[in-house]
Amino acid sequence: MIHTTRLLVVASAIALLAGCEGLIGDAEGGPARAAEAFLCQNPNAITVGSSPVRRLTNTEYENTIRDLLGGNVPQVPEQPSDAVLEGSFENDAQSLGPSDVRIARYETAAMTLGEHAVNDSTARNRVVPCATADADCGRQFVESFGKRAFRRPLTEAELSRWVDFFESQRVSIDFDAAVQLTVAAMLQTPQFLYRLESEGSAADANHIELSQHELASRLSYFLWETMPDDALLAAADAGELETDTQLEEQARRLLADRRARDAVRNFHRQWLYLDRVLDEDKVAELFPMWGPQARASAKEETLRFIETTFFEGGTVEDLFTSNLAYVDDVMSELYDIPAPSEPWAQVELDPTERAGLLSRVAFLAGFAHEANGSPPLRGVFVMERLLCEPRPSPPANADTSVPEPDPNAGPVTNRDLFEERVAPSACQGCHVRIDGFGFGFENYDAAGIFRSEENGLPVDASGFANGIGNDAAYEGAVELQNLLGQSEVVRDCVAKQWFTYANGRPMEPADTCQVEAIQAELEANGGDLVELLVSIVTRPEFRLRTKGES
C-alpha cells in the first residue's frame, strides 16, 4: 500500500514535472500544502471526520418506502435529481438539501402513500398491527409504524404527540383516515427524510458512540441503500450490535441479500459513470446496430459483470482482468461471439481482446465520439476515476473539437489525428500522461468493437502507464488493465471511493489514518471486494461521530 499523502504528492509532482499545472500558473502551496493535511501522524489514534446529516437520496427514499409499506407501491412524482456533483456520489451530504419542488413532491407522494397504506391489503397488514379500528389499535399502530418510519423507537413525547394527532383525525373523520394521514405526516418528518444521528453516548473527549439504532441505519443504508429490516431493528433493540463480531455478522447477513447487490450496482454505476453510455449517439452508417437497445444492454452487461465478480469472491484485480461476461443478443453481436442460449448467459470473451471492465462496450462507447474513440476521454477517465486524481480542465481556448482527417491527404488512424492535435508543447504537459492511458484503447472503435486495422493501417495501441506505482510500457487494453489490476494506486483508489460513498462526503484530513487502515486491510485481503466493505463497517470509526457543537 502507498500512503494517501504520498499518492497526492506523487500526483502533484508528476503534474509539476510535466507542466500539467501550466494553464493555471504556479502550484506552490497548492496541492503540496493540501497534501500535508492528509498525513496520518499517528496510525493508532482514532479520529473521525464530520458526519453531516444526510437526506435520503432518491434511491434510498424509494427503497425505504418499498420496505416500509410493502405491497404494490403506487407511482409517486419523480423527484429532482440528486446527482449534482460531478465526480462525487449521489449520497454526498452536500448535495442533499431541500428545495421547494422537492418538498411539494414529497407532500404529493406522502398523501398518495398514506392512501396506499390503508387500501393495499399487503401494505395494510404491514402497517396496521391490529384489526379493532379503535383508539387502542391506533396507539399500537403509531408505536409500531413510528418505530419503523423513524428507524428507532419513538420517545415518550413523540408517542404522545402522534397518538394525539391520530386521535384527532380518527374522531373528526375515521380510523382509516387517521392511519392514512399519520403515515402521510410521518413520511414528511425530518426523522424519516433525514438520517439523524443525535443520540449515543460519549466515547471519549472528542467522540460520541452512535446508539444501536443509529448504527443499524448506518449499516443498512451503506450496504442496502434502505432502512434496516426487522431483524436488524430487533438486533438494535436488543443491543446486539455492541461487539465487532455481532456487527460483522449482521454485515455479512446483509451482504448476502439481493439488496446489497443492488446497492453495489448503484455504487459502480456512479463511480464508473455507467449512465454515460445511455446518452451516446453513433453515426448510423458506421454503427447500424447502435441504438437504445445497445446502449441499455451495454450498461447492463458491465453491471452484471461487476456484480458477479464482486459477490463471488472477486478482487480489485479481477475487475480489470476477468474475461467472464453476461451477454444478450445485442452484446454478443458487438463482441462478435455466438448469440447466447438465453439472455444474459455467462460466456467467456477472447482473453486476448477482452478482459476487465475497460475493454467492455459501456466504457469504450461511453468515452468515445460519434464516429471514433476518444483517447483523451478514456485516459482522463482512468486518471480521475481509477487513480483518484483530480484532473485539470483544458485551457479555456484549447481546441477540443473532434479532429477530422484531411480529405486530400492519405489515410490516417484515429491515433494519428489525436497525436497531431496534442503535439504543441502547451498540450504535451498533460497529454503525455493522459494519452499514455488513452491510446491503449485504440483497438476499440466508437461502439467498442474490436479492430486491429483502421483505414487499412495497423492499429497502434501501445502506451505507457505513468504514476500507477508499477509504471510500465504496455501493448493494448488487456496489458494495460493487467497493470492497473496490480497497481497499488488503483487499489487504494477503490478503497477511497468506497470510503467516500460510505460516509456521504469527500475524505477529510481527519480521515487519513482510517483510510490508510482500510487500504492496508484491502491489501492484506488480496483486494477482496466484499471483505473491503466488511472492513469499512468494522472499523472503530464506523461506530463514532465527532462531538459537535450541539
Binding site: E28, P31, V84, I103, A104, A157, Q188, Q191, L196
Partner: protein, 473 residues
C-alpha cells in the same frame, strides 16, 4: 366549503386535459383586474448557449464604438434589424437591446484561479455558466466549476415571492452545468419536462369552491394542512441537536414545509383557468407555461434555460456537432463559413422562440398594459461568442418591468482596453454583472447596489460591479 389544491382535483383536471389539449386558454381574471390597482412585476430570464455572432447581432451606429449612446428602434424597418434580431422586430417598441457589457467576474476568475495556485477549472463554459446569475466566484470543486452562491433569480424570488406561491421557477435544460443555484454548488431545482412543470404549478392553483356538505375525500384533502403542520412541528424537536450547518439545512426544509402549508390553505378563488398543451417546440411549451404561471401569479420569477437546439432545427445536417463544428468555428475572422452561418441561424432560431415568448406575454391584458409591460424579460447567454469571448456579450431586455425600464431603444457602451488572463488584451465596456443589479431595481429592490461581488481586480485595474447599468431607465 372552499377547497384547496390537491392531488385529487389535479388528477381529475389532468384526466380531462386530453379533451381540451390543443389550445392554450390564456387566463382571464376580471375579478383581479377589477380591484387591482397595479399588476405585480415579474422577471423572466431566457438563457441560450454559445453566445452570438457579434457582426450578425449588433446594430451599432458606425464610427461610434467609443461613445455611450442610445437610439430609438421605433422607426426601424424589419430589414434594418440585424439578421439575428430580426424576428424581434415586431416587438421593437418593447425592447432594450443592450450592447457592450463585459463579463468581469469571469475574467477575474481566471486570475483568481492562478493566484490560488491550485488546479481550478477555467473552462469558460463552466465558469461562464457559474457566474452568469451569481455574480460571484465559482465553487471550484474536485473536477469542475459550479455556481459559488445563490443566483439572482433566487435573490429576487425570495424578495418578491408571495406566501404559498413559488418564489421562483427554473424550467428547461442545462447547457453543461446549471445557471441557477440556491447556494454554493447547490443547483436550484429545475424541471425539464413541461408536463411535470405544469403539474407542479397546478399543485398551487386552488380549485374552485364547491357548495354542499364536505365529502370524506374533501375532509382528507382539507387535512393536508394539518399533516404539514404536524410534520413541521417535528423539526422543532430535532433542530437543537444538530450542528449549525445541518440546522441551517433543516431549517430551510422546515420553512419550505410551512410555505407549502400556507399554499394548501389558500382557498380564495382566483378566477384563473390554468391549462397546458404539450404541443409544439419544448421551448415554446415552456413559454406558454411561463405565461400561465405569471398570469395566474403562481410565481413571479421564471428562468427558462433553452434546449441546446439540434442541427436539424437550424438547417445543418444531423451529423454535424453543434459545439465543435459550429460554435467553435463561428469566429467571423478566423472561423469557417459553415460555422459563422450556422451560428447565425442558430441564434436567429432562438430569437424566433424568444419572440414567441414575448407574443404570449404581450397577449395577456392586465393593469398597466400587458403582462409583458409589467415584466422584465431578459435574453442572456452563457458567453459572448461561440469561441468563448466574454466582452460585448449579447443582451436583450423586453418589457418595461412596470415602468422601470424605458424600452424601444438600442443602447451602446464605449469600450476600453483591459489586460485579462494570460496577458491578453481585451476591449471591454461596463460590467455585465451590473445588469443583475438593474434587475433588482426593476423588481423594486432599489436599496440594493450590488449582488454577489462588489468589485473585482483584473490586470491591476479595479472594476466596480456596483449600481445598475446606466441608460436603461
Amino acid at each position: 366549503m372552499s377547497r384547496s389544491p390537491f392531488i385529487i382535483d389535479r388528477r381529475r383536471f389532468l384526466g380531462t386535459l386530453g379533451l381540451t389539449a390543443g389550445s392554450l386558454m390564456l387566463p382571464s381574471f376580471p375579478g383581479r383586474r377589477a380591484h387591482a390597482q397595479s399588476a405585480p412585476k415579474r422577471l423572466v430570464l431566457f438563457i441560450t448557449p454559445h453566445g452570438t455572432v457579434p457582426g450578425r447581432w449588433h446594430m451599432r451606429q458606425p464610427g461610434r464604438d467609443n461613445e455611450e449612446y442610445d437610439y430609438s428602434l421605433s422607426g426601424l424597418s424589419e430589414s434594418q434589424f440585424s439578421q439575428i434580431l430580426r424576428p424581434l422586430h415586431r416587438h421593437r417598441d418593447k425592447l432594450l437591446i443592450v450592447d457592450g457589457l463585459a463579463r468581469m467576474v469571469t475574467y477575474a476568475e481566471e486570475y483568481r484561479v492562478a493566484d490560488l495556485g491550485y488546479a481550478g477549472d477555467v473552462n469558460r463554459h463552466h465558469i461562464g455558466q457559474a457566474h452568469l446569475l451569481t455574480n460571484t466566484w465559482a465553487f471550484q470543486g474536485a473536477a469542475t466549476a459550479r455556481g459559488g452562491a445563490h443566483s439572482i433569480d433566487q435573490e429576487i424570488g425570495n424578495a418578491v415571492g408571495q406566501p404559498g406561491r413559488w418564489n421562483s421557477r427554473v424550467y428547461g435544460f442545462n447547457h453543461q452545468h446549471a445557471y441557477n443555484y440556491v447556494g454554493a454548488n447547490q443547483p436550484a431545482p429545475r424541471e425539464q419536462n413541461p408536463q411535470a412543470a405544469f403539474n407542479d404549478i397546478l399543485g398551487l392553483a386552488p380549485a374552485p369552491s364547491e357548495a354542499g356538505e364536505p365529502s370524506r375525500a374533501d375532509m382528507l384533502d382539507a387535512a393536508r394542512a394539518s399533516v404539514l403542520d404536524m410534520a413541521s412541528e417535528e423539526f422543532a424537536t430535532v433542530l437543537p441537536k444538530l450542528s449549525a450547518a445541518d440546522r441551517e439545512k433543516l431549517e430551510r426544509h422546515r420553512t419550505l414545509v410551512r410555505d407549502l402549508e400556507v399554499g394548501v390553505n389558500l382557498s380564495a378563488p382566483m378566477g384563473c383557468d390554468p391549462s397546458f398543451s404539450a404541443q409544439g417546440h419544448v421551448i415554446d411549451q415552456f413559454s406558454r407555461l411561463t405565461t400561465m404561471a405569471l398570469a395566474c401569479d403562481l410565481t413571479r420569477v421564471v428562468t427558462l434555460v433553452t434546449q441546446d437546439i439540434p442541427g436539424n432545427e437550424f438547417g445543418v445536417s444531423p451529423g454535424i456537432d453543434m459545439h465543435q463544428d459550429i460554435a467553435h468555428s463561428s469566429d467571423e475572422n478566423s472561423g469557417s463559413s459553415q460555422g459563422v452561418e450556422g451560428m447565425t441561424e442558430y441564434n436567429r432560431v432562438y430569437a424566433e422562440h424568444f419572440a414567441y415568448l414575448l407574443d404570449q406575454l404581450d397577449s395577456v391584458q392586465e393593469a398597466g398594459g400587458t403582462l409583458l409591460d409589467n415584466s422584465a424579460v431578459v435574453w442572456v447567454s452563457e458567453l459572448g461568442t461561440g469561441t468563448h469571448e466574454i466582452s460585448r456579450v449579447p443582451n436583450v431586455i423586453a418589457g418595461g418591468a412596470g415602468g422601470y425600464f424605458r424600452p424601444g431603444r438600442y443602447v451602446h457602451y464605449p469600450q476600453s482596453a483591459l489586460t485579462v488572463g494570460w496577458g491578453h488584451q481585451a476591449q471591454v465596456g461596463p460590467a455585465h454583472e451590473r445588469l443583475n443589479v438593474s434587475l433588482m431595481h426593476a423588481m423594486g429592490m432599489t436599496d440594493r447596489n450590488y449582488f454577489g461581488l462588489e468589485q473585482v481586480s483584473i490586470g491591476g485595474q479595479t472594476i466596480s460591479l456596483r449600481d445598475p447599468v446606466p441608460r436603461l431607465t
